[in-house]
């Protein structure tokens, strides 16, 4: 081996981690195989040793939609226009589920992976990323179910239209993923020090759902509760849910301004999450 050591020719250096922000994308790329293996693990193992297996992916949104339809549409009488209420709810729940799955999945990154993180090094960001990707697969399956019911209702003669803006739907999914990831990273970072947050998360998500126009059109809330309508208007999630329904079912409205606002908030949350995650990953092993 023709190796001539040069005193300054080091491959890398481990130093105290006090740089403000480090995200080594090259390193993440080197570990891409790990990312996909994590995704594979998540998908394979979630419903192992359950009787219904992957059917659980479908049962949850379907039952929730049925419940919502009965409570909010039949009992409370929320008007969904020409669109069957069941489809209206299913569309909202599907996209909402993607967000909550990303959020809850990533929010305990440090807690669930403490033992691995304590033993080997790999870019920590791989873990939350893999959760967002594996949930995307789950979302895909749930979306297929939506399509099945869409066609079913079409055959039954429901008056359904697809909006041209559907081409932008992937964009909404990305926003949802990034929002879930960003918020999840923020929470996961804070949970390492203040465990109280994990208790808050469960019912926080529940409350957030009511503010995110999942089971009602945004317009309706503004009409009925003009005083509180602004809360929903400031909620970026509401725009995504509302736009999803607009694209898939052509109901409600699409607000370009609202979506731009959502995009802006998403980017900020995502980078803030990245920053916090970055900061936590350096000292986490010593505090947990």
């Amino acid at each position: 081996m023709n190796h001539t050591p040069n005193p300054n020719d080091w491959l890398f250096e481990i130093t105290p981690k006090n740089k403000f922000f480090t995200l080594n994308l090259k390193e993440v790329w080197q570990y891409r195989d790990l990312l996909f293996l994590f995704v594979k693990r998540d998908v394979i193992t979630v419903y192992k040793q359950t009787v219904l297996g992957p059917l659980w992916y479908l049962i949850q949104p379907l039952f929730t939609s049925v419940t919502f339809t009965i409570i909010f549409n039949n009992v409370a009488g929320i008007d969904t226009g020409t669109v069957p209420p069941f489809l209206f709810n299913l569309a909202g729940i599907t996209i909402w589920n993607y967000f909550t799955a990303c959020l809850t999945g990533t929010s305990d990154t440090f807690k669930t992976n403490a033992s691995i993180f304590g033993k080997v090094y790999f870019p920590r960001i791989i873990t939350p990323l893999s959760i967002v990707i594996s949930n995307l697969i789950k979302f895909g399956i749930q979306f297929l179910i939506f399509i099945v019911f869409y066609i079913l209702f079409l055959f039954k003669g429901a008056n359904l239209q697809i909006s041209v803006s559907l081409v932008f739907f992937p964009f909404l999914i990305i926003i949802m993923g990034l929002l879930g990831l960003g918020l999840g990273m923020i929470i996961s970072s804070m949970v390492t020090k203040y465990r109280d947050l994990s208790h808050l998360l469960g019912f926080g998500i529940q409350l957030l759902m009511y503010l995110s126009a999942v089971m009602y059109p945004m317009e309706l809330l503004k009409e009925k509760l003009p005083k509180f309508g602004w809360i929903v208007e400031y909620n970026p999630l509401a725009y995504v849910v509302e736009s999803t329904r607009y694209m898939l079912l052509n109901v409600g409205e699409i607000s370009v301004l609202g979506l731009l606002y959502t995009l802006f908030v998403t980017v900020i949350i995502f980078f803030f999450g990245l920053l916090m995650f970055n900061k936590t990953e350096k000292g986490f092993i010593d505090t947990v």
């Binding site: 190796h3 050591p5 020719d9 080091w10 491959l11 890398f12 250096e13 481990i14 130093t15 105290p16 981690k17 080197q30 570990y31 195989d33 790990l34 996909f36 293996l37 994590f38 594979k40 693990r41 394979i44 193992t45 192992k48 040793q49 033992s115 691995i116 993180f117 304590g118 033993k119 080997v120 090094y121 790999f122 020090k193 350096k282 000292g283 092993i285 010593d286 505090t287």
Partner: protein, 421 residues
């Protein structure tokens, strides 16, 4: 010949915070933040003391490592030895980038992969084959690299038959074999190994040691090896460093390092100012020391063993009026042994300062033990110190066969005979 340094540690120090992270942290966080805002040094970095677990410190911060400097040459197998809590694992964690040093730097010319405990990231629901890929990827291999070595890995692990069975059905030994196999076929320039060989059966340990020798000798890979198993360390390593209380205590060839480590074993504890005790104090325990072959060696399985207690006996109480008990617990708090001087016939001694219990051939298995001291004078409690001291028994060859009793199976070793008729 010019030295080919592959790894260089310069002034590595690591500070930890002790105790509960709870209500105090928010105020510390705010205080730290306030100092940072004003451009001042972190106020908690100044406090802190050397890492000696036996001495109760006054500060919440402790230096787990202090000013560690060493160099490793390409192809060298460096043994890192030291007592529990000396800072070995912290050093390995820094080397494998799991945690960062508080000060100092480590420079490396090669990829470092670690094998800190085995089976990291193994998922019980997945099959052996799937776990090889997952574990390999966690350790930094690409899918392609793993696929090209899959057959070798499976063969080395000796788990061919179960390779498509979920790992949760594996015995712990099989899991270890598989995990070691994955790591052994890693191709980093520097491999960090911590206490792996403690598990697995004798045959596999032999295989693992052989493989590690191949790795370091044949393939020119550098290995950093941490273990309490002195036999394995001596077998494998070419050089050693001894870490004591977070500092490098010795740095040299492996035989000298092991000797240095063993000879530094005898510790003693001073109880004169100890308050956590019961009894009327007519006779009091002053100091306690526990040692092996000589006053300077660690207790070792199968070797002579002594517990020596210095007493404070101002009233010159005779030994026949005193009863002295020694109680030994293991690290789970389970009582292992109980011995007392009243079990033996006593010859009267009027004036004495020391009481010494000796065992010719120590029949405690390797591990950590706690001593509780109990003393009666004329059937009344005189001095009682619970969990007064803890000591470590290191691996030894009790049966002179090289075969050992797994320490999960038994803490006590017995002399016995087998015959075949």
């Amino acid at each position: 010949m010019e030295k080919d340094i592959i790894l260089k540690a310069e002034n590595i120090s690591k500070q930890y915070r002790l105790g509960q992270v709870g209500t105090g942290t928010l105020s510390h966080d705010l205080n730290r933040w306030w100092h940072k805002v004003r451009g001042k040094e972190n106020p908690y970095l100044k406090v802190g003391e050397a890492n000696d677990r036996a001495v109760k410190g006054s500060s919440d911060y402790v230096w787990a490592l202090q000013d560690i400097n060493f160099e490793v040459q390409r192809g060298e197998v460096l043994g890192i030895i030291g007592k529990n809590g000396a800072g070995k694992s912290t050093l390995l964690k820094i080397l494998s980038k799991v945690t960062g040093p508080t000060t100092g730097s480590i420079k490396s010319r090669g990829r470092i992969a670690s094998l800190l405990e085995v089976g990291t990231g193994f998922n019980g629901e997945m099959t052996g084959r799937e776990n090889i890929f997952l574990n390999g990827a966690i350790l930094g291999m690409t899918k392609k690299e793993i696929a090209s070595k899959l057959d070798e890995i499976i063969e080395f692990s000796g788990c061919e038959r179960y390779i498509d069975t979920p790992v949760k059905r594996y015995s712990s030994g099989m899991t270890v074999r598989l995990a070691f196999a994955v790591a052994a076929f890693l191709e980093p320039e520097i491999l960090v190994i911590d206490e792996v060989l403690a598990v697995g059966d004798a045959e596999f340990q032999k295989k693992a040691i052989g493989k590690m020798q191949d790795i370091s000798k044949g393939e020119g890979r550098t290995v950093l090896f941490v273990s309490h198993n002195m036999a394995a360390v001596q077998n494998l390593c070419t050089r050693g460093i001894v870490i004591k209380n977070g500092k490098i205590d010795f740095n040299g060839n492996i035989e000298d390092s092991i000797l240095h480590y063993l000879n530094d074993g005898a510790d003693s504890e001073d109880f004169e100012n100890w308050t956590d005790r019961k009894g009327n104090g007519i006779v009091k325990i002053k100091t306690l020391s526990v040692f092996g072959n000589s006053e300077f060696t660690l207790p070792q399985v199968g070797m002579p063993f002594t517990i020596k207690i210095k007493l404070d006996n101002p009233a010159k109480i005779k030994n026949t009026n005193i009863r002295f008990d020694l109680r030994l617990d293991d690290n789970f708090g389970q009582r292992i042994a109980w011995i007392s001087d009243f079990l033996k016939t006593k010859e009267q001694v009027d004036d004495f300062n020391f009481i010494e219990f000796t065992i010719d051939k120590l029949n405690l298995n390797k591990g950590k033990y706690y001593i509780t001291l109990y003393m009666e004078v004329d059937k009344e409690l005189s001095d009682y110190i619970q969990n007064a001291y803890s000591f470590e028994v290191i691996e030894g060859d009790y049966y002179n066969t090289g075969n050992k009793v797994p320490n999960v199976q038994s803490k006590i070793l017995m002399d016995f005979n087998v015959c075949y008729k």
